[in-house]
Symmetry: C3
Subunit: 140 residues, 3 copies
């Protein structure tokens, strides 16, 4: 069994949901040599997250931003952790709801995503800066 | 280390939360030959999801359906993506909240689930059709 | 490739969000001998969960408890599963929103967590008892 790991940086994205499937695939060309395996993508931050969802219509990603802003409100007077701005504590909560990693099977040298699946970088801060991802792929 | 991968199809389920632990276990009999390992189940769709929760009382699964319907409302006038029916955008959001994969340790040839844990297929569409899952197990 | 698995028990925690990174690291010293790999932590319960989030300011963890209590209310008259107390069905739902496992890359013998990331045990019951975790690490 082989294993490969690559750290990459995604340059600062604006707040919202962004498709990064092609960046991931490009970063670990060794996936092409794995017949059966797995690929994990991990984000090393607590105010941005990763998810897998619809890869075609951009309005889906706009609706994600709208929904999570409604569900995790800013300026809730009950927040205790509010020193870093009104988007900070909601960003931590959104990141926990969505998760900090995605994991995708590899089959015949490709990520076995469904037709409509793409990998989202979910940026929950207004100015989140660059984001570090660790990509690990293994199999045989 | 050995690795096994199996694609299976779950025939159309009605909207709601369904226990599929036994289908998963039956589909990858090679788990029985792994002493220490991992099993990942991945759903190749964006409007259905996978989760692990209570495997005994069916009212738990009914309460899941009720809760997610309340938390992710249909017909929110703020949705932009609404061409495919009122259950479509909520299905994408529910899928992101629950996730498209579960991962379970293997110990002594069995999934090391807790006593009360079962694998749920969460069908978020009214008519979602058949669902494709990819099951990958590895270990030694 | 090597693989190691360790079952540990976390003694009863009070309801809320608790940092357990150091317990995890201590339990699987073999991580130190893995240059490139993965570590999964799995909780064998349906009313407690695992997450990764901010490891510094304790008010973040208090805000998590507040937010999830608001988002998943107790005593919703629509719950059918209410025999085991008002905190029971909400605990199942919170566990599904947060997830029963976390998975972290290993790099140069250490968990490749970001600077601000820690592993949370999320106890959703008032009296949840001890919690069993299965930790699996593999790589080369």
């Amino acid at each position: 069994m082989q294993i490969h790991q690559q750290q990459i940086q995604i340059r600062e994205q604006k707040r919202g949901f962004h498709l990064i499937t092609s960046e991931i695939v490009r970063s670990v060309p060794q996936i092409g040599s794995i017949k059966t395996g797995m690929c994990q993508v991990f984000i090393q931050h607590t105010s941005a997250s990763l998810s897998i969802n619809e890869n075609a219509d951009p309005t889906v990603r706009k609706d994600f931003e709208m929904f999570f802003n409604k569900t995790v409100p800013e300026n809730d007077p009950d927040y205790l952790h509010d020193d870093e701005g009104s988007d900070d504590m909601p960003a931590h909560l959104k990141a926990a709801l969505l998760g900090c990693s995605v994991m995708i099977p590899i089959r015949n040298g490709r990520l076995a995503l469904g037709t409509w699946q793409g990998i989202y970088l979910c940026e929950h801060r207004n100015y989140g800066g660059n984001r570090n991802l660790m990509i690990t792929a293994w199999g045989e």
